[in-house]
């Protein structure tokens, strides 16, 4: 059973009652019609909630611990994944993973943040917060993909790059800047998908792509709502207001021209029916890759450059 979020409490209560009814069913009383009725009510309730999630609620869905992560997408979308490790200078960062893979017949490079899904793996993957060596591995792999004509697919899911003493000493800022630059230099197609959290510089370093896809309930922002609130409102308690003001949802970002395509999620979010979410992303990635396949290397880079030069400009 999934863990419920705060704003899903009514659904949780209802589901608990359904569960209890089922358990008492062995008494021989016919309760199936009652269960059906309650299940329909629960489904409607969930669908109503998810149809009008606030930006702050979406932030919680995007961070849901049971939401699919990089490894789940790789397993469900690609075949013959061959992970490639290390930055050749310092270490292998487990927060950013990459490797060669196939989507149908198309060979490509897939790269992204992995948050982990239990205590041990979360620590191993540093909660998806990349260090300089992670971004330098990304640069190395993107350059490799570029040389061998492999399209690049990135799956973005990070609260941000890791803030630490050693990360600063090894040039976190420089690594992010160069990784962003590496995306922009590519002469192969690049597609980025914001699958969970797109957190600031740690996200854009893997997301300066020809096409940017975003899950329906993912969020993408320049600073976390809590961080923004604590600076501008002087209290992290105003995170919900900050999330609304910063316009962090897929709909907002599509309107602002930052996101090209919104990938639908099952009712109740990607974590409720993971296979449906993964299949939706697979379909979208396949279509976008096909769409970019005919373009020349120069056109791919030029289009990407023009797209980012135009970001935020006045219309006309």
């Amino acid at each position: 059973m999934v863990s419920f979020l705060d704003f899903e409490k009514q659904v949780a209560t209802l589901d608990e009652r359904i569960h209890e009814l089922r358990a008492s069913a062995s008494d021989g009383v016919d309760i199936q019609s009652e269960i059906d009725k309650l299940e329909a009510k629960s489904a409607k309730m969930l669908s109503d909630i998810y149809r009008k999630l606030t930006p702050w609620q979406k932030t919680q869905v995007a961070r849901h611990p049971e939401r699919p992560h990089f490894k789940d997408y790789v397993a469900g979308i690609f075949e013959d994944f061959v992970p490639l490790a290390g930055d050749r200078a310092f270490a292998d960062d487990h927060a950013i993973i990459g490797g060669l893979a196939r989507l149908g017949t198309r060979k490509l490079l897939v790269i992204g943040h992995e948050k982990g899904d239990d205590t041990a793996s979360r620590i191993k993957h540093n909660f998806g917060m990349g260090k300089p060596e992670g971004y330098r591995k990304a640069i190395r792999l993107m350059e490799l993909a570029d040389r061998f004509g492999l399209p690049v697919v990135s799956l973005v899911d990070t609260s941000g790059a890791f803030p630490g003493i050693q990360a600063e000493e090894r040039g976190q800022a420089e690594a992010i800047a160069r990784s962003t630059q590496a995306c922009l230099e590519l002469k192969v197609p690049m597609i980025a998908a914001i699958v969970g959290e797109g957190g600031s510089g740690g996200a854009i370093a893997l997301a300066a792509a020809n096409r940017v896809l975003m899950f329906e309930h993912a969020v993408y922002s320049v600073i976390s709502p809590e961080g923004c609130a604590s600076i501008l409102w002087r209290t992290a308690e105003k995170a919900a207001d900050a999330a609304t003001a910063m316009q962090v949802t897929a709909d907002d970002l599509k309107r602002l021209g930052v996101v090209d395509r919104i990938v639908p999620e099952p009712i109740g979010g990607a974590h409720r029916v993971r296979s449906v979410a993964i299949a939706a992303l697979k379909k979208a990635l396949g279509e976008e890759l096909n769409d970019l396949a005919g373009k020349t290397p120069d056109a791919l880079r030029t289009e990407r450059e023009e797209k980012y030069l135009a970001m935020g400009q006045l219309a006309g």
Binding site: G171, G201, G227, L256
Partner: protein, 284 residues
Amino acid sequence: MSWIHRVRNAISSIAKRETPDNLWHKCKACNQMVFCKEWEENLFVCPKCDHHDRIGADKRIPMLFDPGSAEILPSPRAPEDPLKFKDTKKYVDRIKAARNATGEHDALINVRGTIAKHRAVVGIQDFAFMGGSMGVGVGEAFVSGVEAAIADACPYIIFTAAGGARMQEGILSLMQMPKATVAIARLRRAGLPYIVVLTDPTTGGVTASYAMLGDVQLAEPGALIGFAGQRVIENTIREKLPDGFQRAEYLLDHGMLDMVVERKDLRQRLGLLIDYLTPQREAA
């Protein structure tokens, strides 16, 4: 004991409001009183402790460019308040206040001129304008500065000073990072140098984009330079930060800079760098 030292000791007992603003400057770093005139002649650097104070374009221009050569380039058009953002104040009101306080249009202006007789276009970021933060206006100014450099076939030099991206423009401020990066790529393809001078403070998304992509990386002494804020780091790792952490000299030690240069030496040093990096074909 010099007379000025004695005067300074005497002054320290005078209440602040009795100190004429136009006569004495109290150093933010060492708290000592310095004659304003002496401080200005020393390029707003404390003669006692070498603290390099934050300065805007108005002060930077005369100390950097050859006399009479500087020409401020027009600020490009950018949308005002694209998100209609409001926190405890409206963003439009914050912009208005910053414009009134600084006399500038946004946090980055471009200046064309000669430095030790070498032509250059120079971008100067002003921390006094909303913490130097990078929104669409700053991104557009950066691109237009690079374009002016390409048109003039001269280097683009940026003096950075920013707390990071401008949150009030949300994701669009983050998108100025790849925007500026594209401009740098085009300058590079034109065979022209890109020189970064990091000044106090340069942090966040500005550091993680155009401030770290220079062909040559200079910094003023003591400048705070980093990606993450110090409080964020302390709260994450719950450790005390080392002495001098994220200061220019610390970054130099860790291989992130080419050199730390005193403000008084910048003009000469930049002139020499431009001379070395100017395409040889042009000189022939």
